[in-house]
């Protein structure tokens, strides 16, 4: 079988899983639905390996294949195929997406067990993975947009999975609306590309673009800026990021899926995929890089002040995606994608560990209430620690090598990009601080009430079901979380998924150690040979220098965190008092929600109200009721004639004919 046949199978299997579960959900027992869902993604992962093996059989420069099943539309110079494009980049993406998604499905199999919407959950999950695979495998911009929109819908369905929680449905709508804004940007970019080049297939576009555009020309800059709108909305970059923390309303495996494997990495993929276009539009690429830098710093500071376990991890995702966006925008394509992969491992792991802890807390997420889980849940704690170490780029872990490869490239490119590297290191310090704030608050110390229950009674703490955000009382029917909570210590599938991810989070970085081996870059780089930026390589000595700085930052950060949250627990409160304005700024997430509310939501509502009061009431209603009144008035006049007296009708008839006859008689004279 060829690489593309395997790739079609990769697409087919999750779709099939989703269809089978959703069509047969009455007949299929819940457990079986979970198995089908997990197996579909697992087989897709196996097929992705098939793609990889096939691709490795080709010469490195010939590792790209396009395949098409049929034509969507072929008229007037427009040729849209249902086509996929398999190269190193898409193969890398499907491997990460299916691999991590398989483990997340496995985890969900245990975690969601007592939820009444178990089958629906797996149908959505499979559809989500299918959408993401469609997005990364698409061979032209039209199919890319289709996958892009599917991902948006799937995220909406899953964030609002507990649909009886108003907070969850609100968060789902927010995510959907912001994603649609991004979709519009992407669609407009595709229109512009078609207008300028007349083609939409990747290969054709990337071949034609360098001849059609001058470097820095405004049209290509506009195209790239529109692409960036799409990328920023999906990847939660400033100012389109506000949906991501709210998306924490979904079940924890959904957060893991959105943050690690699907969805937020789409923007990184898009920029890497269209690197040819971004090379031609240096302004747009720099804007993207600066947005990434700003996002990684701002999200890092916000994460320092939040107290919701999942939200802290959510902001850390934003921050890490900021690194990736910065990387692929300045030309460090392979490094950015490498970070995407390692991030997928440790972020999924962190969310899984967080989910396990939240389950032990009976769905409460406030880290101020948590302590002492090291004694209560050893396995989960170890996993949280591994995820935290990888996120904080502890020497030897995966995040250590991937993050520094981006920053080393930025430094090697020189100029203003050096400043980006410095900003990235500052962000790395923030990362360590908020990560270990989380770890030191949750793991050590005297076990909290919930942790103590687990130690004493050996079962998970029970509390009346309630919404962790608002404290509203809930029941455990469909549309709300299930009655039982499951922790990794008591659920084999959850533990297996976490252990595998923990292994990846610890050791995936060893695939790409500067000067030692070159597995990831060696595989990916031929895909980016067209870009002159890919020729820039930091020297091995430079990379190790960067790694040294990174390691120093990690150790300093851990030491500071230890001081702040273990040795001197009074100090953070003191700091909060001292730097109150900054603390409030971080606590309120830099007032982005408020700013968007003021700048976008309120004006839109005002326009709506104006349209309702003035235009709708006066003009539209006036036209409609005016027409109706005219007809009614005319009808009123005619009604008088319809007396119901047959003989009067006869009189009218005869008189009319007599009158006509008279007229003709007189006229003929």
């Amino acid at each position: 079988m060829s690489a593309t046949s395997w790739a079609w199978l990769v697409l087919l299997l999750p779709l099939l899983g989703s269809v089978v579960i959703s069509v047969g959900f009455r007949a299929i027992p819940a457990r079986v639905a979970g198995m089908i869902g997990t197996a579909a993604i697992g087989l897709a992962f196996a097929c992705s390996i098939g793609v990889l093996v096939n691709l490795l059989g080709d010469e490195p420069e010939a590792r790209h294949h396009a395949s098409s099943l049929w034509d969507y539309a072929n008229a007037a110079g427009l040729d849209i195929k249902l086509g996929i494009y398999v190269d190193q980049l898409s193969t890398f993406m499907i491997l990460v997406v299916t691999g991590v998604s398989t483990l997340i499905h496995l985890y969900s199999y245990g975690y969601m067990q007592s939820d009444e919407g178990y089958r629906r959950f797996f149908a959505y999950l499979n559809f989500f993975v299918f959408s993401m695979l469609l997005l990364v495998l698409a061979g032209n911009f039209v199919l890319l947009i289709v996958g892009w929109a599917f991902v948006g819908f799937a995220s909406y369905a899953l964030i609002s999975f507990w649909y009886r929680r108003t907070t969850a449905t609100g968060a789902g709508m927010k995510a959907f609306v912001i994603n649609v804004v991004g979709d519009i940007g992407l669609v407009l970019a595709a229109f512009l590309i078609f207008r300028e080049l007349g083609v939409l297939d990747y290969e054709a576009v990337f071949a034609a673009a360098p001849e059609a555009f001058q470097r820095g020309e405004w049209t290509i800059t506009a195209i790239c800026l529109l692409l960036l709108v799409g990328a920023f909305a999906k990847s939660a970059q400033i100012p389109f990021h506000t949906w991501l923390p709210d998306a924490m309303e979904g079940p924890t495996p959904v957060s893991a899926l959105i943050h690690a494997a699907t969805m937020v990495t789409a923007g990184v993929y898009l920029i890497a995929r269209t690197n040819v276009l971004f090379y031609l539009a240096p302004t747009a690429a720099d804007i993207a890089a600066f947005t990434g830098l700003a996002t990684l710093l701002i999200a890092g500071t916000i994460a320092l002040a939040q107290t919701d376990l999942k939200r802290v991890i959510a902001y850390s995702t934003m921050s890490q995606i900021g690194y990736m966006i910065m990387g692929v925008s300045i030309g460090a394509y392979s490094a950015g994608l490498f970070h995407l992969m390692t991030h997928a491992f440790f972020k999924a792991l962190l969310f899984m560990a967080a989910g396990s802890i939240i389950a032990a807390m009976a769905n409460r997420q406030d880290i101020d209430r948590m302590s002492g889980f090291w004694r209560a849940m050893r396995f989960t704690s170890i996993m949280l620690l591994i995820g935290g170490l990888a996120l904080a780029a502890f020497p030897g872990t995966s995040g250590f090598f991937s993050k520094d490869s981006i920053l080393a490239y930025a430094e090697a490119r020189g100029g203003m990009y050096t400043w980006m590297a410095i900003g990235g290191y500052v962000g790395a310090l923030l990362t360590v601080l908020y990560t270990f704030r989380l770890v030191f608050r949750v793991l050590p110390g005297k076990p909290c009430e919930e942790a103590q229950t687990l130690i004493d009674a050996g079962h998970v703490f029970h509390a009346e079901p309630e919404n962790p955000a608002t404290g509203e009382k809930e029941d455990t029917e469909v549309g709300f979380p299930g009655a039982e909570h499951h922790i990794a210590e008591q659920s084999r599938p959850m533990a297996v998924a976490m252990a595998l991810l923990g292994f990846g989070a610890l050791f995936a970085g060893l695939l790409q150690v500067p000067g030692v081996d070159n597995v990831i870059f060696g595989f990916l780089e031929p895909a980016f040979h067209d870009s002159p930026l890919d020729a820039i390589h930091p020297t091995v000595a430079h990379e190790w220098e960067g790694l040294g700085v990174g390691a120093a930052i990690t150790f300093i950060g851990i030491a500071v965190s230890y001081l702040l949250w273990i040795r001197q627990p009074a100090l953070p409160a003191l700091l909060r008092q001292r730097f109150r304005p900054a603390y409030l700024l971080f606590l309120h997430k830099w007032y982005f929600d408020e700013a968007i509310d003021l700048l976008v939501v309120r004006p839109a509502l005002a326009i709506g109200r104006f349209a309702n009061r003035t235009f709708e009431r006066l003009v539209v209603d006036g036209l409609v009721t005016g027409t109706a009144e005219t007809v009614r008035g005319a009808g009123g006049i005619v009604r008088i004639v319809q007396s119901g007296f047959v003989r009067s009708y006869a009189l009218f008839l005869i008189a009319g004919f007599a009158g006509l006859a008279l007229y003709f008689l007189l006229a003929s004279q």
């Binding site: 005619v638 319809q642 007396s643 119901g644 007296f645 047959v646 003989r647 006869a650 009189l651």
Partner: protein
């Protein structure tokens, strides 16, 4: 005989029929008056046909007879239906179709 006589007779018959429709209230009489008017028309048609010298007018007269027969069937059917439902046989009382 001169054509005027026929036309005058036909006009008179028509006027009598029309008058009957206007002043009588019984549906049966109204139907009769309608027949009178139709036959006035027939008389005129046949007279003109004779005057012109071809048969087209007579063909029309036959068609009018057919139409008249149909109309009488429907009219009488309505009257029978009215009678069965014990409604008054008076067109001035039957005015539910007032607009």
């Amino acid at each position: 005989m001169n054509i005027e006589w026929y036309i005058v007779l036909s006009s008179l018959l028509f006027a009598v029929g029309a008058m009957g429709i206007l002043i009588r209230r019984s549906p049966i009489v109204i139907l009769l008056c309608l027949e009178l008017m139709l036959n006035a028309g027939n008389l005129a048609l046949v007279a003109f046909s004779r005057m012109v010298g071809n048969e087209e007018g007579q063909v029309f007269a036959v068609i009018v007879m057919v139409v008249a027969a149909c109309e009488v069937v429907i009219g009488l059917g309505l009257i029978v239906a009215l009678y069965r439902r014990k409604l008054p046989l008076d067109v001035d009382e039957l005015r539910t179709l007032r607009g």
